[in-house]
Symmetry: C2
Subunit: 423 residues, 2 copies
């Protein structure tokens, strides 16, 4: 058994009935991979003792590290502790630190302890408890078939907390003991460039870098490029990663808007804040999505004044001051209308710049031509404009996909106009 | 082996690295469950022949029906057809109808066929091909260890299409042959009532109904209650379901806003459309989310005129006509301010009714008191108002959770005010 082979097991009938998604497996897979482990299998089984036992025995045979989630709750259906204790031939017993923490917590809220709560702080005798700072049930670590098996709660917030606090450091030590140094990992976030385009530009990016891999994920309209470098020397890995960073930025250019924990609204906000400018929006087909996006990150009040969602033509005319003649002559989805919308939003809010969006979001079957499009302005046609003190410029785009994708693409494009203007 | 035991296997390194979520497993689990099958296991393995073979052999031993996704693409990494052919001791050969369909499709687009494309239309000799109306690679059905094993592409759109076209009917026939009639299934969508509250009201709902189960799913601020009735007589099951429907509506009341394929924005829209009324919004802390939600469904232009997102106080005053004195005296997060926002939105848009939202979305650590809250107006405090020709009424709420949850809860509550007003 190679020491870097890992497996993930979830216990839960709700997942098997399709009622909840096994997001824990995705979280754990990504982190185990980044830590240098190779997940050979994800598995989900029902909370029945026989099924759990078989899965634990099989996976502990197949992987040096197994991470198990679920079945640590307070009810009779939560059998994980008992099943593991049985397998190991030991008793389950309360973990005293977790018991004390629970007692304090309950006393502070005036709750009464029930026998079920006492169930929840048990671990198999001899297991190493992994304290749960985000909840009641501790995780625990045991060895089966000579391999490390970690048990964590199924609630994602608690699972993630215990993983980061207690599992990740142990896995780093485990990998270091195997002579596997820390990998260097970075994810670049790209907007405004298609997947095949990026792929083409990244050809042979890692050609001369041993033990480096490239991973690609699309979450339209964004793409994410991840590079992992697993050479024998941690410092060298980091150095090579910085070299890849420079190369990658040369190849992709300004399409890279951020890395790792950064997100698009955050970066748009940073640009606007740094430029000391203020932004307003005028939205039609997006219905408020661009405003929702730019205010998703706290602190947007530093630069964002507001938005006029002018869904009806009357609101375009009466609130934003779009000329009725413009709509009659060019249509509501037109560059002239987009320009007057942006100018109107700037005027009524007093913002330094304003960006407008007006388009045909679909679907094509709608009876309303403003949704369904025409041969001249098919579904996906979106006109946008940016108005500043100096000028107003409009642009037309044809986005593809369904109503939701088109609206999302339009909101991104609008915010990117503001970002590029303020750079 | 009970004939109603099923298992799901996905093949894909990207899932094991956490790059993509195994949404196929959730889709299949839910549909298999509704079809009367019990999924005993979900599994994901790498696209390596040995791992795939072991998983197929184990699952075909453990389940009467196995559904496998992935590994049917055009590249060398797509090994499913070859691995299955090897296991069965047969050759892989092109499925002629799929080959012809692909040729036609490529000719229509002027594409050239590559050898890789030919790989993609193969199935193991003797397998029953399951035509793919949404893509190139056909699915197929084989028997292993005497059990039915279905192979489908990993691309969700193609997988779902083949499942619905070819797998679901075969499973219905399989279950009918076992004497298992069609289950009656309905999901009720609930807004405005907490999980424990609903749970309490549903106590003993299914007490006198044999072979009926109740399933609960939370997607804040919504809750979903699903009932499945699996009695021996299909018509009787449906009759009992209607009885449960009446009982459930009595217990939950107007908290049930819809069933099955209905969603919240759709139902709000139906109410407004039926009442022949028009709606405007004035949003602050939600930044446009309520407008985005109500326009997510096409056809919103029938009743939705627009929204003023007044994120800054100046926009509240200058665009919506909120009195500066109101903000100075009561604060921007106050019922007086919410009332003036709603009245302003109604006035400037000409809508029959207008709903406003102003609140403290958090997080608490923000330096800006309008985000972080105060002891008087903690994070989660949201004031909303509805203005109509007759009156303006305000209400204050304290929502819990993070910034995103609070904003979402506020947007739902605002739209629900409009819905209730127009009923």
């Amino acid at each position: 058994m190679a020491p870097h082979i890992a497996a993930i097991l979830a216990i839960g009938d709700e997942v098997l009935r399709g009622e909840i998604r096994n997001t824990n497996a995705t979280f754990l897979s990504e982190r185990l991979f980044d830590a240098g482990l190779e997940v050979c299998e994800q598995r989900v089984v029902a909370d029945q003792a026989a099924a759990m036992q078989r899965a634990l025995q099989e996976l502990a045979q197949r992987a040096a590290v197994v991470v198990v989630t679920g079945g640590l709750g307070p009810t009779e259906d939560d059998r994980t502790v008992d099943v593991v204790a049985d397998l190991l031939g030991v008793e389950a017993e309360p973990h005293s630190a977790s018991l004390e923490a629970m007692k304090k917590r309950f006393a502070a809220h005036g709750f009464e302890l029930t026998p079920n709560n006492l169930r929840q702080v048990r671990v198999p005798r001899g297991a190493e408890a992994l304290p749960n700072e985000a909840g009641i049930a501790p995780g625990f670590l045991v060895r089966m078939a000579g391999h490390a098996v970690y048990f964590l709660p199924g609630i994602p917030r608690e699972m993630e907390r215990i993983y980061l606090d207690h599992v990740a450091p142990r896995l780093r030590a485990h990998m270091a003991a195997q002579g596997v140094p820390g990998a260097a990992v970075r994810t670049w976030h790209v907007y405004g460039m298609g997947e095949s385009h990026i792929d083409h530009r990244l050809a042979k990016l890692l050609e001369n870098i041993p033990r480096a891999t490239l991973h690609f994920r699309t979450d339209a309209p964004e793409n994410h490029v991840k590079v992992v470098i697993r050479g024998p020397d941690t410092d060298k890995n980091q150095e090579l990663l910085e070299q890849v960073d420079r190369d990658l930025r040369k190849r992709i250019g300004p399409g890279i808007y951020g890395v790792d924990g950064e997100n698009f609204p955050m970066v748009v906000g940073q640009s606007l804040r740094a430029a000391g400018t203020t932004l307003a929006l005028a939205e039609s087909c997006t219905g408020g999505e661009a405003g929702q996006m730019i205010t998703a990150e706290p602190g947007a009040s530093d630069f964002f004044l507001g938005s006029v969602v002018a869904y009806s033509n009357d609101v375009k005319v009466n609130v934003l001051g779009v000329k009725a003649a413009t709509i009659a002559e060019s249509g509501a989805v037109s560059e002239p209308c987009a320009k007057e919308m942006a100018e109107g939003a700037r005027r009524v809010t007093g913002a330094a710049i304003a960006v407008s969006i007006t388009g045909v979001a679909g679907p094509a079957k709608e009876r309303d031509p403003s949704a369904s499009g025409t041969s001249e302005k098919p579904v996906g046609t979106v006109c946008l404009a940016l108005a500043s003190a100096k000028s107003t410029k409009a642009v037309s785009k044809l986005f593809s996909g369904d109503r939701q994708s088109i609206r999302r693409a339009a909101a991104y494009f609008a915010l990117d106009l503001a970002r590029r203007h303020s750079q």
